[in-house]
Each structure stands twice: as C-alpha cells, then as structure tokens.
Point group: C2
Chain length 148, copies 2
C-alpha cells in the first residue's frame, strides 16, 4: 500500500483495460499460472438504497488499483445468485487485497446485510483461452479439430 | 463412458446433491485440491426457440452423470453476460467431459449460434470456504477476527 501505485504503469494499464473492456469480462495479456478468486453469492432481497450496488462498484474500483490485479468478471441473475471471479498475479496479492480496510468493512457489511450465503474459492489458473465470433467456428481448445 | 455409471454411489450422490441444492450453487463435501472450469460468455441476442436453455439444462444433466463431477454454479445477467463454473475431481475428468460427443456438439452450436465471445479457464482449487446467514457475522476466512 505504498503511495506510488498511481505511477505504476502496470496499474495504469489495468485501469485502462478495465474501463475499455465490456462490463464484467476479464481479458488480459497475463499468461498462466495466475490466481482466481471465485465468489458465488446469494443476495438477500434487494431494497433500493441498501448500498449494495455502490459498494460493489467501489470494490471493483479499489481492486483495479491493487498490486497484482489482472481482471474481473461478474454476473448476477434475476434470482439473486451471482458469481464474481477476480484474477490476481499471486496469492500474496490476494492476501493484501483481502486485508485492505475498506474491503474488510464491505465483507462485514455483506454478511450483515446483503448475502444469504456464499462460497469462496481460491484457485490457480493453469490454462486459459478465449474465443470471439470473429475467430470463426473452430474450437480454440482443439484448433485442429475442425477444418475451418 | 462405461455403462456402469448409474451404479456408482458417488454419481448417485452428485445427482442427489445437485437436485437438492438451490439452483446454481456448488456446495459439496470434496476437499481441495480439485479443479474448476470457469466459463464466462456473452450471449448473442436471445430469441425464443433458439434452443439455448434446453441445451444448457441438458449439459448440466449430462455433466452430473460424468465421473469426477463435483458441482456447478451458474449466473447470467440481463446484459447477457454469464459465468458458469463447474467443479471436477481431476484434469482427466475434465478431459473426458470435454470429449463427450453431445458436449462437443453443444460447444460447436454455441460458437455458431449462441455466443459473441467467451473465455474459458481451467484452475486448481487450493482453498474453499462457505458462509451461511445462520453461521453468524464472523468472517469464515478469519474465524478469530471478530469476537462474534
């Protein structure tokens, strides 16, 4: 938590990519291995002004500025079940993020007000690949599987 | 793909747990390490009768019967961005699941009809924990952090 994060080009790049990328999608140039924090939660009944949305946005903005942050993807269905996966360079970065005072307070409020239950997992990403419509119909995991 | 899956008590247990658990939530007694397949996708515009929902349900039913299947969690927001995380005992189980003919065909149709883009990651889960409202307000990752 040094004062010079704002000057770190990797962080500036993270912020630029997060702002530029479609909401909730985690695409970044870092190759495996790296780490995922998989957070699956069930909301309590949402009430306007319960502060959840603002805090969720604030946590993403805070995470983006953390050392080792790579990206985040997030989805929540109409049934209130949501999954957020954040990606990090290493375990020590996740530990530091979990210790950020404002993040600890948000988690406390989550248990008090916002969640019925959650599951949290920490996992080491060993492989990743992506596909875009513009890439054509072939399976990126099996590039030779089709003649396309 | 042996014919005796139906007799495997672990698979019967998987099916029972999946049916019993709230939709989209992955809670199971298997301890780490195990594997996660993190699939984040953006739907094309949904049209009634495009077959996506039925195929997605069918894929979950198929996965549940596969050796090494542990659980699945899934959420899709109104913006069409969805995350599905399936959990598996080992890499060889994921490989076998990805080779199931009906699953290969569904992935092909996904690239042809249903997705604008996706990212897929394979990750080894090293730690997990859960929290329920009935557990009280303490942080399960730091059980001694509060006096509660």
């Amino acid at each position: 938590m040094s004062a010079d994060h704002a000057l770190d080009p990797a962080i500036a790049d993270s912020i630029a990519r997060t702002i530029a990328s479609p909401l909730g999608r985690a695409e970044f140039p870092h190759e495996p291995p790296y780490y995922a924090v998989i957070f699956c939660s069930q909301r309590t009944e949402e009430t306007p002004g319960d502060g959840y949305g603002d805090t969720a946005d604030r946590m993403v903005a805070l995470a983006v500025g953390q050392p080792g942050y790579l990206g985040v993807e997030s989805a929540r269905g109409a049934d209130g079940l949501g999954i957020t996966v954040s990606y990090w360079r290493g375990l020590e970065d996740i530990r530091a993020w979990r210790a950020v005072t404002e993040h600890v307070a948000a988690r406390d409020q989550g248990r008090r007000d916002w969640y019925r239950h959650y599951e949290l997992r920490i996992a080491k990403v060993e492989r990743h690949y992506g596909w875009e419509r513009a890439d054509g119909p072939a399976d990126p995991a099996h590039p030779s599987a089709t003649g396309a």
